[in-house]
Symmetry: C2
Subunit: 105 residues, 2 copies
């Protein structure tokens, strides 16, 4: 059984889609948290001020834009930032959006 959801290749990354993912403050906070943590985090490990179904939607938008890679460990869905691939496609973008000063605004 294939439980890994589809992920775009780097060559498919689209700036418009990435910006639409990151313009949402809740989704941007997920990315900022992953940058700060420096490690993968389970969906349940984010303190998101939204319902579970909305949170699932937010993770899907991030995954489809190429910002995160999702995989299972047992019943936990884990989230990994696709840092290197995003930096390859759009150099400097994640840095610009997740530095402490930007994140505080």
């Amino acid at each position: 059984m294939e439980r890994t959801p589809p992920h775009p290749e780097v060559s498919q990354f689209d700036l418009q889609q990435v910006l639409e993912a990151l313009v949402d403050p809740v989704r941007r906070s997920v990315v900022t948290r992953l940058v700060a943590a420096g490690e993968d985090i389970a969906c349940g490990g984010f303190d998101m001020p939204v319902s579970k179904s909305t949170a699932t939607h937010h993770f899907k938008v991030l995954r489809e834009a190429g910002l995160i890679r999702q995989y299972y460990v047992g019943t936990s869905r884990m989230n990994a930032l696709r840092r290197a691939e995003m930096d390859q496609a759009f150099p400097g973008l994640l840095d610009a959006l997740t530095t402490s000063r930007a994140a505080a605004r």
Copy 2:
């Protein structure tokens, strides 16, 4: 008579507002064009695929986010990229969004 519209100070720049301005492809194309041109451009100098009133709205959103400074020369409303101030507030953001590779996506 004061014809110069209000502009935010750098200290008032807000990342959420800047991203909401830049997530629109037409508005992002205005910024990319100003970066490429390296000089101020009159509102009429942009080839925007929208009505004049919609174009005016797009310029207003960019101005209110701090991305452009508008001023008059005779009856022409000119647009200047606030490059240095935006780089000060959000280092690397404009570079990341307007490099040739990003602009092409």
